[in-house]
């Protein structure tokens, strides 16, 4: 029996599927091998040649985006609004295998905008919106592009889109605490819709290349896109201790120290070992091996870290105090359903871990700076200890069927209504308080007294000492414990 398996990246191209469907009468799916034994040999040759040619054209033909069909309705409604232009963000996941868009979000209206300003695009406003939105996306979901609804000239629209796209993506990636990986997809999409003709023009740009030119791309709607996406999640302990410089303990200095400390911690997380469902999977293996298709899959991950192999400089220095971040966070990443690799799951989850902690710290610092904490805390000689609860993470499911959720952070003095308001304003989502998932993290109760973390004590029985060693010896080579625990405080006497 002769079988050919068709590389999936070809089949996402509309023309390929059309041509193939012309040749063959029966319907087949991209993942199953094609049984060609029933066809005369020459047809097989023709098919092989066609696919070879398409492979060559693949690069020129560009990417293909598969879009949740709800987005079509959302964009249609925006077309019917009076405002012109309407800009917004496209949310989804880009991988080397496929590109998906799950959501579109219009840029919120600026309240004090003058009539004239309404007709132009405010680049800063769009990028700031993108930055806020990016914080509300769990791992696996990101801003993959921008759209504009305008009846302006297509060329002008494209120029505007290009500017917006680069500004948005550059701002978002500048806040990342991790280094870009070699297998990151750097193509992002721009969509121009003419509200009168409803004609859509879809292009991609490579944001790594400032001179990138527009490449054509396919935009195709599909229903039930996210129904079988996989979720990888974990709950992770954070325990960071950082010194504050002498005589400079203001919030601004704290911000600097925290940024540095977070970077070092992000490095540890990035180079840690990741276990999925208790197993260490080889990098190129698929996550969904052995699972039935179209069944919702959830995986639990474990992260193991070690202090870096190169010795950090051992240091004793005078300091003006310390700042610590301790507690636990819930982290989550979503993966598309088209045979995602274990490597991708690990990458997306680790990035979510780092960004959720960094986002909360950043939000806390913004609060402190805004509420004029500057005046306190600098130059005092007395010992001061201040505790700040970082906001905890709340998830809100998207209306599309499937496991996808967006998230928001709730400060301890906020109610759920503030969360739903933000979801509406930032993500244009109508969510009720009952829809929100608040069970993943709980607020720490501060009772005003010193909080010292309890070390877990385990009973260890004294083993018998075995002196004979014929056979196997086990050695623990250069084991380093987490630096957080090896830091000491020496008070000035």
């Amino acid at each position: 029996m002769l079988t050919i398996s068709i590389p999936s990246h070809l089949l996402r191209h509309r023309r390929a599927t059309e041509i193939c469907q012309c040749i063959f009468i029966f319907f087949w799916s991209a993942d199953e091998p094609l049984d060609l034994s029933k066809l005369p040999a020459f047809l097989v040759e023709v098919l092989a040649t066609v696919l070879l040619l398409l492979n060559i054209f693949h690069e020129i033909m560009g990417r293909g985006y598969i879009v949740q069909d709800d987005v079509e309705g959302y964009l249609s409604k925006l077309c019917e609004q009076k405002a012109d232009p309407v800009t917004g963000l496209l949310i989804g996941q880009s991988s080397t295998q496929r590109d998906f868009v799950v959501m579109a979000i219009r840029t919120p209206q600026k309240e004090e905008s003058a009539a004239a300003a309404r007709n132009s695009v405010d680049k800063e406003w769009v990028t700031e919106h993108a930055r806020q939105v990016s914080r509300m996306l769990p791992g696996g979901l990101s801003v993959v592009g921008v759209f504009i609804i305008t009846d302006a000239d297509a060329k002008d629209a494209l120029t505007t889109l290009r500017q917006l796209l680069f500004a948005v993506e550059n701002l978002i990636s500048s806040e990342h605490l991790w280094d870009p990986a070699d297998d990151d997809v750097t193509d992002c999409v721009t969509l121009h819709i003419n509200p009168k003709t409803r004609k859509t023009v879809c292009r991609t740009f490579d944001i790594k290349d400032p001179k990138s030119v527009a490449k054509p791309a396919d935009w195709k709607y599909q229903s039930g896109l996210c129904s079988s996406w996989a979720t990888v999640s974990c709950s992770l302990n954070v325990d960071m201790l950082l010194p504050l410089p002498n005589n400079r303990t203001s919030t601004g200095n704290m911000e600097e120290c925290l940024k540095e400390g977070l970077k070092a911690w992000a490095h540890q997380i990035e180079s840690g070992l990741c276990l999925i469902d208790g197993k260490r999977l080889p990098e190129d293996s698929e996550l969904t091996v052995g699972q039935r298709r179209n069944v919702r899959q959830t995986y639990t991950a474990q992260l193991l870290i070690t202090t870096e192999n190169k010795r950090l400089t051992d240091v004793i220095e005078q300091c003006g105090g310390s700042v610590s971040v301790t507690g636990a966070i819930h982290s989550r990443a979503y993966l598309h359903s088209n045979k995602p690799k274990a490597r991708l799951a690990e990458k997306l989850l680790k990035r979510d871990v780092v960004s959720t902690v960094a986002t909360r710290v950043q939000m806390m610092l913004e609060e402190l700076l805004a509420s004029d904490q500057e005046s306190k805390g600098s130059c005092r000689d007395k010992q001061q200890k201040e505790l700040f609860c970082l906001p905890h993470r709340i998830f809100c499911p998207l209306k599309v069927s499937g496991p996808l959720c967006v998230c928001d952070y709730q400060f301890s003095d906020e109610g759920l209504s503030e969360v739903t308001e933000r979801l509406k304003e930032m993500l244009d989502i109508d969510a009720a308080e009952e829809d929100l998932d608040t069970r993943q993290e709980m607020t720490f109760e501060i009772t005003g007294c010193d909080i010292t973390p309890e070390p877990t004590q385990e009973k260890v029985e004294a083993p018998e000492h075995k002196k004979n060693y014929i056979g196997v010896a086990m050695a623990t080579a250069v084991a380093l414990l987490a630096t957080a625990a090896s830091m000491l405080y020496l008070n000035d006497i």
């Binding site: 709950s235 303990t249 051992d314 902690v357 201040e386 993470r393 720490f444 260890v460 000035d492």
Partner: protein, 440 residues
Amino acid sequence: MLVRNVISRTFETLRSQVKSESCVLAVSDSPVIIWPNKDAYATPEEITPSTLCEDMHQWIQADEQESSGKKSSKKKSKKSSVASVINLRLMTEVTKPGPLSAPILTKTVLKSHFVSVTLPLDCVVCTGRSDTIKDACEQLIEALTHQLCEMEKVTLQNMKGMTLLVPEPVHFLLPEPKGLVTVVYPVGVPDSQLVAQRKELHQQFELPDDRPYFRRANAYHFPNEPYKDGYLRNPHLALTHPTLDNGKVYLVQGIYSYHHYMQDRVDDNGWGCAYRSLQTICSWFQQQGYVELPVPTHKEIQQALVDVGDKQASFVGSRQWIGSIEVQAVLSHLLGLTSKILFVSQGAELASKGRELANHFLTEGTPVMIGGGVLAHTILGVAWSETTGQIRYLILDPHYTGAEDLQVITDKGWCGWKGPDFWDQTAYYNLCLPQRPKVI
């Protein structure tokens, strides 16, 4: 006082971390991960707490092994005595099942000192054939906890004001049945300042107090770590020793490096044999911890002889031979060692020196340089029968000009057992027998 309390408390936290469920041991070069404090739960699932330690090898991807190591383990007789090493990394699991309390940011303003130290934990446990992973884990955790206590002691002992010395563990292989022992030393403190500590250790382990066991140079070299300098160590271990009627084998003790012609880009073919033998001897004293001086080059050897007045200044850079007397002089001047000279007027007499050589290897165990006729060699041991007088000599030949290939060196006899006819029967020979200093 307050400072010491803080340090002690930190070590206490570290010890509880090691005993906690988030402590993880990851086997190097393999997908195996073990949670020692969760009853040795391991992944992949084929590994259970009752899996034997030696079965772990099938999970480890072997790297390309050193040619020397591989060859020696192929010989059947050697297999049982070669201990195999499994390396593990100590890691911390940062994920744990909920419920979780969201993080708190604590800011403390307090003038103080901040100390950040990476503690290089390094433990060894020896397990027997029938030991399971669970047994090994229990021993490892016990060893790690114990090492943290030792590190705490060393840190507190060596604290002066605001300076802190990092404790580092060193492994030593003591004579049977004591086996592998780990001692924590403060980094940066030279051996000369640690005499009191070594005296205590000698007493604790009931070791003779006239030879060193605990100097840093005596550190045990694990079989799976290649030497970085490229010299072969103890090539004689790859040989089968001769069996004589009522005879015994007396060998050099400890570790030496094989030095021979053409090494270090010095073309001393034809004149440097005694220099190479001297280098082999120096390497022995360095690796047994008696001296810290690196093995001297030809020029340094020649300069030493000029310095003691034995040679003219023009000697340095020349290709002149040296003999046993010069070797003795250099050992004395550069390394502070005394050596005995043994003289035989005819090579044939060497056959009768069995007792003396046997005694030397028993008590001193140092390599012997022998010069006579036109050749110099190193004697690493004798096989001698007191009753029959039969004798064989274990010779390390410095005239070898090839690469550090153990197979070639042993097959072609560059390191090999020779009979009494190896010597020029009519020439006279001088032997230099270096003596161990009586220090610890």
